[in-house]
Symmetry: D2
Subunit: 342 residues, 4 copies
C-alpha cells in the first residue's frame, strides 16, 4: 500500500525538489500540494519541469489540506513549521525542510533566528554517528541545512578520529537556488552570472551554529567554526572547502584511513580515489556527496572538501533518505547517486 | 531475465548519458564499456557523475569486447558504426547514436559527410508518423540527431496537417555538450561563458538534410530547410525556433488543433498550455520535449518552438525509448519526463 | 569647457552603462544623478562597478535636479520622458534611452505600448542611411531599442541594395540585462542559468514595429518582420540571426559587395572576414557591432547575423555616439570598439 | 613621443589583455605582436575582441621581432623569459607576465617549478610596502601572479599592522581564463558551466610560495600559507577569502583602521564601506581591487576578502600600472577602475 505524501511549499525550490524525488519513489503516492502566494495556480506554472504534476492545482497551506497523509514535507519559511506540525498530530511523519527544529541550543536559535526556540527533532543526517538510529521510527525529522550537510560530511571523520584541532575554518560556494525564489536584486541573473560574492561574513550565517553543533558532538569538545559562504554563478551545488589544524602525528595515511572508516558502507557518500577532487557537476541532481581529504604538510592543516547538490543531498534528498529510515523502508529507495552531467 | 547492454564510446558525453539512463532502467544489466583513448582507465576518471560505475574499467572498442550482449549502444565518431555492427551479427540489437544510418539519400550523405553511404536503419523518432511501428522488433536503430529531433517535433504537426508552406526557417540554440568532448579552442569555458555564437551558417550543418528528410516525408512534398545553429552558454539543452509561412486559412485555432492531435497520447512530448513557452531548463536531464506554437498574424507565419535536452531526448533518451520499442518493453520504462530544475 | 551631463535613472542598467561610458569620455563632466526608489542612496550601493562615482548621492528625478546641464540622458520607464523633456527646455540636448520617441507611427505606438503617442525624435542609429545627418545639431535624440539596433545593422545593407524580399524572419538571443533590474521570477539567476527560453512570440514584442520602420524605410517598401526574441544565460549581448528570401540573381558575391559598401568607413561596425562569425563575447562592453552575411543557396535565403552588447552599442554607447554627433564632437570620442574578452 | 611596446604571446589570454589595455593607453604605440603556434595568422582570428588590431599579423617570437621597442611585454610559458630578456638588452623595459622572476628563493622556485631559478626582478605590486619605489626607473618587472595579487592585497594590511597570527588560511575562486587557453578536458565549457571544483589542494599550487614571500616580508616573520584554489563557472575574476587568527586585543575598529591606513591614497584599491562586500563582477575588466575585512569574534579570526579581475589587476593591468611607474608616467595612465557590469 502506497505511502501518501503531501508537500507544503510546493512552488518553491525545496518543495519542487522534494516532488521531483517523490515522483521517482516507488512507494510514494503524491497527495496534496500547497503553497502561499501561488495557491490556486496549476503547479506547471511555477514548476514547469515537474511535467507529470503540471496540471495539479496548488491549495492553500492549511491543516485541512495537509490532513489525511502518512508523510507531510514542510518547505516553509522559518518559524511556520511548529504550528503546522502540531495541527497534524503525532501519527503523521512530519519532515521539516526548514530550520525550526535543527538546533538543540535555544540560545543559538534566538541569537541567529531572533525568535523563540520551537524545539529539537531528530536530525536528518544519517551519516553522522548515532543519527541513523535516532531516525528509525521517528515521527518528526529536522532536515539539516545545506551548508551543514556539506561541511559536516567533509569534516566529521577527522573529528571522529581525533585528528583535528577544535577550530575549523570553512569557505563554501553555493549555487543560487540555495537562496530560494525570493525576489532580491542580488539574485537576478544579470547580477549573478560571471560573479562570485561572499555574504554573511564574520560569523553571521545562520548555518554556523548548526555546523558547530554537529562537529562538537562528534569531537566531544567545543569546535569553533569560522564560516564564509559565497554565492557562485550556478543554479545548484555546494563546494565546501574545510580546514582545521592537524593534531600532532597526523599523516596523509592516517587521514585516509579515518575517512575510509567513516564512510564504509555509506550508500550516499563517496570518498574519491586519491588524487581526484569533488566537483559539484558530478552530483548535480543526485543524493550524493563526494568527499576528498588532503594533508597540507607545510601548513600542518587538514583540508577536507565535499561537493553536494544543495537541493538534493543538501535538502530534499536528505529529507527522503531520512523519511525512508523513519518509515522502515530501504534507505536508498527512490534515490540515485548518479549525477546529471555534463 | 535482464537485458544485457554494452556501450561503445562510454567515456564521451553521449555514451555517458546512455549509461546514466541505463543505470535507472529496471530491465537492463550493464555489460561491457568500451572507449578509445580512455581504454584501460576506470570510468570514474572521465565520468565522475556515474558513481555506481566508477570502478568499472574501460575496454578497447573491439567486436570481442562487445560480443555476448543483447543490446549494443554505439556512441562512436561518424563512419565507424557499420563495421562494428556487422561484426556483432543480426541477432544483437544495435543502437547507433551516430549519424551513419540516418539518411536515406546516399547523395545527401556524401555531400554532407564526405564518405560512402553505409545504409539506412529504422529511425528512432517514434513520434513521427509511421516510425514507432517500424521500430518494433527491429535489430537496428539509427538514433536521430539532436537538432533534427527538436526541429522535427516542433514542425511536423504543421506539415502533417497541411498548414505550412514548404520552406522552413530555423534557428536553434544548443548547449556545448552537443559538440562533444573534442578539445577545440572555441569550446573552452572561457570562450563559451557569456557568449552566443553561430556556426555552420548558410546550409552547411550536417543535420540539415536530416531535417529536410523528416519534414518532407510528413509533408508529402520537398520541404526546404534554412537552418542556423548557435552555441549557447550552457552545458545542455536545445531551443529550436522554427518558422514557416502559413497556408491560406490557417488560424491560431487550427494550429492548436493540429498540434493537440499530433501529440495526443505521446508520453514524452508536452504541448504546453497556451501562453506558456518552452524552456530548456524544464527538460534538463529528462526524456521530454516541450512544444508550443503560435500564429504570427501580421507576418502570416507559424512559429513553433521546442525545447529538449540534447543529450537525453536528443540522443540517449531517444535511444533508450527506441530500444524499449524494439525489445517489446513498455516505451516509458526507465525514462522520466521530469527535468532537473532549477 | 566641459559638457555637463546629467543622468536620470542612474541606478538601472541603462543608466549605469551611460555613466560607465561618460566616465571615459574626455569632454564630459558628470553632473546630477537621479533615481526613483534608490534616491537618497550612494551610487556605490546599486552600481558597485562605477568606483569613481561610488560616493555620489542619487537625487530624486525632478526637473530641478536635472536643470543646468548641457545634456540630459533619460533612462526612465516608458512614458515618462515627454514631461521631463518639456520641463528641460529646448536648449538642452535630451537623449532618451527609452522608447517614447522612436516610432513615427502613432498607431504602432498605441498598438504596442497602449498609451498616447508622444511624438518622434531624430533616431540615434547613425549607420542607417540619412540618420547621421539628421542627428547633427539636434537637441533631441531617440536612442534605438537594443534589438532594432542589432537587426537593422544586420539586414539594412541587403534591403538598401535591393537584394532581399520584403519578409524578414528574425530570431535573436539576448542577455538578461536587456530586461532591466525588474524583480521578476523568470529573471532570477536560478531560472536563467543553464536555460534558453523564448518570449513575446508571434509578433508581440514591442521592438517589432521599430524594426519594421527601419527596414521599410531603407527598402522603400513595407517589410514584414516576424521576430522571436529569446533569453540566453548571459548578462550582456545580443546575437541576431536574420533571414530573408533572396531576390533573383543574388549571389554570395553580390551580398558581400553590398555589405562592404554599406559599412565602408563606419567606425563602429565591423563586417567580419569571410568565414568568421560574430560572437557576443567579442563586443562585450564595446560600442561595436560585428556583422556577417551568407547566402544559403539551397534555400535561396540571405542569412545576416550581428552581435552587439545590448547595453553598449544597443543602448548607452549608441546614445553617446549620437550625442557626439549632435554636439559636433568627433563621433568616436570616448567610445571603444575593443571588447572585454574572454 | 610615443612609447613603442611589443607583446610576446599576443594570442593568449594574458597577451590579449595587455593589448586591450595598451589600446586605451594614450602614450603607447603598439609595435610587434608575436606568438608561437598562431604565428602567421591575423590577430583577429584568435582575439576577435581586439577589433582595432584585427588585421595585424602575428610574428614568431624571436629577438629580432621584439627588437627596437621601448617596452616588451612577455606573456610566455614559464621558463622562456630569461633568454628573451637577455637578448633584448638592458635598455629595454621588459615586463614579464610569467612567473620566472617573481620568487626570491631559488629553493622555492625549484620545488614548485622544477627547473633552475632564473633570478629575481622588481615585483610589480606597487601597493605592497616598498615596492612602488623599487619599480621606479627599473628596466625589469616581474608581474605578480593573479592569486598572490588578490591574496596579498587582502591580507597585507593585517600583517603590516601586526594584527594577525602568522598562519593564513585561504580559499580563492577563479574564473577559467586564469588557466589560459590550454586545451584540457576539465576546461571545456561543458565541464565548467554549473560546476565548482578545487585543484592543487594541500599546498601544491605554484602561487603558494609567492603569497608566503609577500606576507612574510610585510609581517617580518615567516607566515605559513594554506591555500586552496577553486575553479568557478565564469570567465574572469578572483574572489579570495583569506583568514588568520587575530592577535590579542584586535577589534573590528582596529582592523578597519589598519585597512584604511594601508589603502589611503591607493588609486586602484577600494576598501568598501562597512557592510558591503566585494564581487568579482564589480571589477570585471577594471584595474581595481575591492577589499573588505571583518572580525569573526566568536572564532577570533580576521576574515579579509578581495575581488579582482585575474586578467586585469591580476595580470595585464598590474603590468601596465608597473610599467607606468617604471617609465615615470602617471601611475593611473590608461587604466580604469570602472568595471563592466552587469
Amino acid at each position: 500500500m502506497a505511502v501518501r505524501a503531501a508537500v507544503a511549499g510546493a512552488s518553491g525550490y525545496a518543495g519542487g525538489e522534494v516532488l521531483r524525488l517523490l515522483l521517482g519513489h516507488p512507494e510514494i503516492e503524491i497527495g496534496a500540494l500547497t503553497a502561499h502566494s501561488n495557491a490556486g495556480q496549476q503547479l506547471g506554472a511555477s514548476q514547469p519541469h515537474l511535467a507529470p504534476l503540471a496540471d495539479r492545482v496548488l491549495q492553500d497551506t492549511t491543516a485541512e489540506a495537509l490532513a489525511g497523509h502518512d508523510v507531510v514535507f514542510l518547505a516553509l519559511p522559518h518559524g511556520q513549521s511548529a504550528a503546522v506540525a502540531e495541527a497534524l498530530g503525532d501519527d503523521v511523519l512530519v519532515v521539516d525542510c526548514g530550520a525550526d527544529f535543527r538546533l538543540r541550543s535555544a540560545d543559538d536559535w534566538t541569537a541567529f533566528y531572533g525568535s523563540e526556540h520551537a524545539g529539537t527533532w531528530p536530525y536528518g543526517l544519517p551519516e553522522l554517528p548515532g543519527h541513523r538510529e535516532a531516525l528509525r521510527g521517528s515521527k518528526r525529522i529536522a532536515v539539516p541545512g545545506c551548508y551543514p550537510t556539506a561541511v559536516s560530511l567533509a569534516l566529521f571523520p577527522a573529528y571522529a578520529a581525533g585528528l583535528a584541532e577544535a577550530e575549523a575554518v570553512i569557505t563554501a560556494a553555493t549555487g543560487t537556488s540555495g537562496a530560494g525564489k525570493a525576489l532580491k536584486p542580488h539574485l537576478l541573473g544579470s547580477e549573478v552570472m560571471g560573479s562570485m560574492s561572499p555574504y554573511g561574513v564574520g560569523g553571521g550565517h545562520r548555518h554556523t551554529p548548526e555546523m558547530r553543533q554537529n562537529l562538537s558532538a562528534v569531537a566531544g569538545e567545543d569546535v569553533t567554526v569560522s564560516f564564509t559562504p559565497t554565492l557562485a554563478p550556478m543554479s545548484r551545488g555546494i563546494l565546501a572547502t574545510c580546514s582545521a589544524k592537524a593534531k600532532p602525528g597526523v599523516s596523509a595515511a592516517s587521514l585516509r584511513e579515518a575517512y575510509e572508516k567513516a564512510f564504509a558502507g555509506e550508500p550516499f557518500v563517496r570518498l574519491l580515489p586519491e588524487g581526484q577532487w569533488p566537483t559539484t557537476a558530478a552530483v548535480h541532481g543526485a543524493n550524493a556527496a563526494q568527499v576528498q581529504v588532503a594533508y597540507d604538510e607545510h601548513a600542518g592543516r587538514i583540508i577536507a572538501i565535499s561537493a553536494i547538490d544543495n537541493l538534493t543531498k543538501g535538502t530534499a534528498g536528505g529529507a527522503v533518505q531520512s523519511m525512508n529510515i523513519a518509515l522502515g523502508l530501504p534507505e536508498e529507495l527512490g534515490l540515485s547517486t548518479t549525477g546529471v552531467a555534463p
